[in-house]
């Protein structure tokens, strides 16, 4: 379906951005340790975050509904949810590299559903991903 094609396209785009970043020799500054790992000589620190909301297509929602009846893995949602999660982490890494942070510690990723209606069937479905952490700059020796 068209939605699948569109999502495949943005996933491929993200994959190539990630690959370009890796090939350029950029480091991986994100970790979820609770203390700065490389040195104790910290110049400054600040809270950084990145977020995105994504939604599956109507077609996928319908397929998902069907699958729910039989149980099992819902492949149609996989693509969108993994896209959202990878995207926030990628954005955060880009942010760290651009702003010259040495690392981002204690990174958390949270997921929440943003469009849930108490009654009736809502035609929109959205999931929000937010990643946040503490960005660190070390004192240059």
């Amino acid at each position: 379906m068209f939605g699948n094609w569109h999502q495949g396209k943005i996933l491929n785009q993200l994959a190539s951005e990630e690959k370009a970043l890796n090939d350029s020799g950029a480091g991986h500054p994100l970790n979820n340790l609770s203390k700065p790992s490389k040195s104790t000589n910290v110049e400054s620190s600040t809270l950084v975050m990145s977020s995105i909301s994504v939604g599956p297509s109507w077609w996928q929602m319908m397929l998902g509904g069907w699958k729910n009846f039989f149980g099992g893995r819902i492949e149609s949602y996989d693509k969108m949810l993994s896209y959202g999660r990878r995207k926030v982490l990628h954005d955060m890494r880009v942010q760290a590299l651009q702003q010259g942070f040495d690392e981002i510690i204690n990174v958390r990723v949270e997921t929440s559903m943003v469009t849930k209606k108490a009654t009736g069937n809502d035609k929109t479905a959205g999931y929000e991903f937010i990643a946040y952490g503490t960005a660190i700059k070390y004192v240059r020796s």
Binding site: G3, H6, Q7, V42, I105, E128, I136
Partner: protein, 108 residues
């Protein structure tokens, strides 16, 4: 972001010493999505993918929750907030509550 306020989601401000603690501070905001934007997001939902209208709305609201938390901390005389956490919940059809909380402290 308000000036001079250190924020961190770790238990200390890296490289600084905590001298006093003022307890839990919080900030929250409930935002409903705009009907027009919702319509746009509904259309976008046909193909799936990023829902930009929601992304922006939530970022804006989260910043507001952070601001309120910082105001709370400032009113207690703190200059930093450690162990900041975010929580989001859908309170009713089309509205979301964004909540930020942390511990207000003074660092040297």
């Amino acid at each position: 972001m308000s000036q001079g306020m250190h924020l961190s989601n770790t238990e200390t401000i890296p490289g600084k010493l905590i001298t006093a603690s003022y307890g839990l501070v919080q900030g929250s905001t409930v935002r409903a999505k705009n009907a027009f934007k919702d319509f746009g997001a509904g259309l976008k939902n046909m193909v799936g993918g990023e829902l930009k209208a929601y992304t922006e709305l939530l970022q804006e609201s989260r910043n507001e929750a952070l601001q309120r938390m910082m105001m709370d901390a400032q009113s207690r005389g703190a200059n930093a907030i450690v162990n900041v956490r975010f929580a989001t919940s859908a309170v009713s059809g089309g509205a979301a509550e964004l909540f930020a909380y942390g511990t207000a402290v003074t660092v040297q």
